[in-house]
């Protein structure tokens, strides 16, 4: 059973190699099935191992398997070793299952694209790297997976490389996440220097015994790891890459920038939660960043007119919720919201991909309209996804997951009214912008005609994800509505349970409040975007809307504060001392050439004279001896 664990990341990697080496010779059908099939089999294996693990809990906390020794030098040793516990099994399930559905969708979506095989190769490499990340036993292997998903993100964002803007967006994503990665690797260095091991469990154990709560080294390390998480998960201040990353194909946005890669930061913080409990100030910072991000992204989503950019800002906002939950110690809440968010956000991105492709690559929602009757299946699934995103009360999974976070934001020991208020305003905004999206895109007059009907490859995954977006929530119901906690029981085998203040009796009040807020958001969206009163038009042209649309002008800020000074410095440094050294060597060589080429004037008599002088010299020297 344990050896199957190593197969889960290995199968997509193997498929990647096959597609890279033989992709040119395989037909599209075979390439598609190889690509999707490997992830599908990985999903199956995950389910098998998962059932086995769940049955073995809580006695056996995790399965470990060492595949081979990676490096060993002195006291530095790292192995290719995987460890499967409750946290990783949830992530593995989401990655492989949602990934499998997205691969099936891609067979239909990329059917007419010339880079079909290349696409599946990159996607498989991504799935493999992400699985390595979540299954890694030691932090160095996790960093390998971390870098791997960063690479694949770059490759897939810039997939249509013939357009230069796609390359720019891919580079922006890579560079900004790099900033986070650098912070993370410094944190890993500090951990190794302090504890001498890379193994995560050992590090957690040693840290809890050796470091005092609130000690500066714990705060420093936790802050550095948080930096890494911020980059990958696109939270403030490193969130500017995600909206531009929508330049990639829609399945890429669904897999990488909704369901999996951007949640790697959440995984990291959950996995190393001991470090964060040792540095309470960093945890507070996580919660504050999460709250701020969800508000900023929520407002920005209101101002967007590109369909995928609305969803991108929505992702940033929802991950802000997850960070908020992590910050107040509600780890199971964060992971639950991750799983449900993966379902409905992937659904929304895939449905948006269908809409965009059917309308011949039209991204602007104000050029869409009235698609409700033309594409009923897509409309229905999109509606279910948006409802789940807006946390429509009682019927959608999103309600249960988001509600749990809001409750913990208030009731946890480190939570409070301020964080809850931020969350509730964010929930209002979420409902507002998601139904704005629905009303403008699917209702009203038809502005662009759909050119074809989406095939089964694309619609069936939509339907499956829609079902999950509704039913997925019923495994974790709050105390006042059924008190089912299957999910938190599973996850709390690995993660600490959330510590709540003595306010449990007020839970029903908060649930009613959040339901009302969600419904009022939907109603306001109806008034503003369906009935379309005239003041909406003037709002659209206002400065405030422009500010929202530019994502609170973070790009401009970074351009001014970071890019301009660095470029100026580079310009000034163009002619420094080391440059001069290199140039003078080159100039010396040229000067010597000019001098010596005088001796090569083509005159035969010169050459003869030099012969004669040479002979005279040599013979004289020989005679002297």
């Amino acid at each position: 059973m344990k050896s199957i664990i190593a197969l889960i990341p290995a199968l997509p990697l193997f498929s990647f190699l096959i597609l890279v080496l033989f992709g040119g010779k395989l037909s599209r059908k075979v390439a598609g099935w190889v690509g999707a099939g490997s992830v599908g089999i990985a999903a199956l294996l995950t389910v098998i191992v998962g059932i086995d693990l769940i049955q073995a809990l809580p006695g056996v906390k995790s399965y470990s398997v060492v595949v081979w020794q990676w490096m060993h030098a002195g006291n530095l040793s790292a192995n290719i070793a995987f460890s499967l516990d409750a946290l990783s099994i949830v992530f593995c399930f989401v990655i492989t299952f949602v990934g499998f559905l997205i691969h099936i969708y891609s067979i239909g979506f990329m059917a007419k694209d010339e880079g079909f095989t290349r696409f599946f190769a990159y996607m498989n490499l991504f799935v493999s790297s992400m699985l390595i990340l979540v299954l890694a036993d030691n932090i160095l292997l996790m960093y390998l997976g971390w870098e791997g998903v960063g690479l694949c993100s770059y490759l897939l964002i810039g997939f249509w490389y013939k357009e230069p803007e796609n390359g720019t967006a891919a580079r922006k994503a890579f560079i900004i996440t790099r900033i986070g990665d650098t912070a993370m690797i410094i944190g890993i260095f500090i951990l190794f220097v302090s504890f001498g091991t890379f193994n995560i469990q050992e590090i957690m154990h040693l840290a809890s015994t050796k470091w005092a709560i609130g000690s500066s080294i714990a705060v420093l390390t936790a802050a550095l790891l948080l930096g890494g998480a911020l980059g990958k998960s696109a939270q403030l201040p490193l969130q500017t890459w995600l909206p531009d990353a929508m330049a990639g194909p829609s399945p890429v946005s669904a897999l990488i920038h909704a369901a999996t890669m951007v949640t790697a930061g959440v995984y990291l913080i959950a996995r190393t939660n001991v470090l964060f409990s040792l540095a309470p100030i960093v945890q507070t910072v996580i919660a504050v960043i999460g709250a701020l991000t969800l508000l900023v992204a929520g407002f920005s989503a209101l101002g967007q007119h590109d369909l995928k950019r609305i969803l991108a800002y929505s992702t940033i906002s929802q991950i802000g919720y997850m960070f908020l939950a992590l910050g107040v110690g509600a780890y199971s809440g964060a992971i639950f919201h991750f799983m449900i968010h993966a379902f409905f956000k992937a659904l929304l991105f895939l449905a948006a991909g269908v809409v965009i492709q059917v309308l011949d690559e039209e991204h602007d929602i104000f050029k869409m309209g009235g698609l409700r009757k033309k594409m009923p299946v897509v409309f229905l699934t999109f509606l279910i996804g948006s409802a789940s995103l807006s946390a429509l009360p009682l019927v959608t999974a999103g309600f249960y997951s988001k509600d749990a976070i809001l409750w913990f934001a208030y009731s946890s020991n480190s939570g409070g009214m301020v964080l809850w208020l931020a969350g509730i305003v964010g929930a209002f905004l979420t409902a507002l912008y998601s139904f704005r999206m629905i009303f403008i895109t699917f209702y009203g007059k038809i502005k662009t005609e759909p050119s074809f009907n989406a095939g089964r490859f694309m619609t069936v995954p939509l339907i499956i994800l829609a079902v999950l977006s509704v039913l997925g929530g019923f495994i974790e119901l709050p105390a006042s509505l059924g008190n089912i906690h299957l999910f938190s029981d599973l996850v709390n085998n690995t993660l600490p349970a959330v510590a709540i203040r003595n306010v449990e009796h007020m839970e029903w009040l908060f649930q009613i409040l959040s339901s009302l807020i969600a419904l009022s958001g939907i109603y306001l969206a109806y008034r503003w975007y369906y009935l379309k009163p005239p003041y909406m038009e003037s709002f659209r042209k206002s400065r405030l809307n422009h500010f929202f649309e530019k994502g609170f002008e973070f790009d401009k800020l970074y351009q001014l504060v970071v890019v301009k000074p660095v470029v100026w410095l580079a310009e000034v440094d163009k002619k420094d001392f080391f440059d001069l050294l290199n140039i003078s060597i080159a100039k010396l060589a040229i000067r010597m050439n000019l001098i010596l080429s005088i001796a090569q004037n083509g005159k035969l008599r010169w050459y003869l004279l030099s012969f004669a002088i040479g002979i005279a010299l040599i013979l004289t020297i020989m005679m002297k001896q």
Partner: protein, 172 residues
């Protein structure tokens, strides 16, 4: 017998000097032939009569004559003034110095040579012939091939393709 050697040597050196410093090409070549004849006398005195004969026949008689033919064909001897311009006295300084240095080196090298008494026997042409056709047979064949190559090369290198244009195409 020695005196003949010194006389022939003096004639050879003198005529060589006149050959290399002459301005008229034909005169220089004729002086050179004279030098070769003197050297041929030296060869005879050095117990190599066959070689002396070969020197006259081949070197002076064929090679130098070839030189004279080409010089007459190119009419070089008429350019008296040009040669005078090119042969200024100060041109001789540096080569003379170099030649002097090399001559001194030669003398020094000869001083360190162990003295050997000259041989008593005369080498007959018959011996040379036998040696040529037994020990050095391969070299003879190769020399023959070289000569053939020289003939063919000289034929091809000396040919000039004269372009004959139609009278309408000649530029006036």
């Amino acid at each position: 017998m020695d005196i003949f050697f010194y006389i022939a040597a003096a004639i050879a050196i003198l005529s060589t000097i006149l050959a290399i410093s002459g301005r008229n090409a034909i005169h220089s070549l004729l002086f050179l032939i004279l030098s070769l004849l003197a050297i041929s006398v030296v060869f005879y005195l050095l117990d190599a009569p066959f070689i002396a004969a070969l020197e006259v026949i081949i070197y002076a008689g064929a090679i130098m004559v070839l030189f004279i033919f080409v010089t007459m064909m190119l009419n070089i001897g008429l350019e008296h003034k040009q040669e005078k311009k090119w042969l200024r006295p100060q041109m001789w300084i540096l080569p003379s110095i170099l030649a002097a240095i090399l001559f001194i080196d030669l003398m020094l090298a000869l001083k360190n040579m162990p003295t050997v008494v000259a041989g008593k026997q005369v080498i007959l042409p018959k011996q040379v012939g036998i040696s040529l056709f037994t020990t050095y047979l391969l070299a003879v064949e190769i020399a023959a091939i070289l000569l053939m190559g020289g003939v063919i090369g000289a034929y091809h290198l000396g040919s000039q393709k004269k372009k004959v244009l139609h009278r309408f195409l000649i530029k006036k």
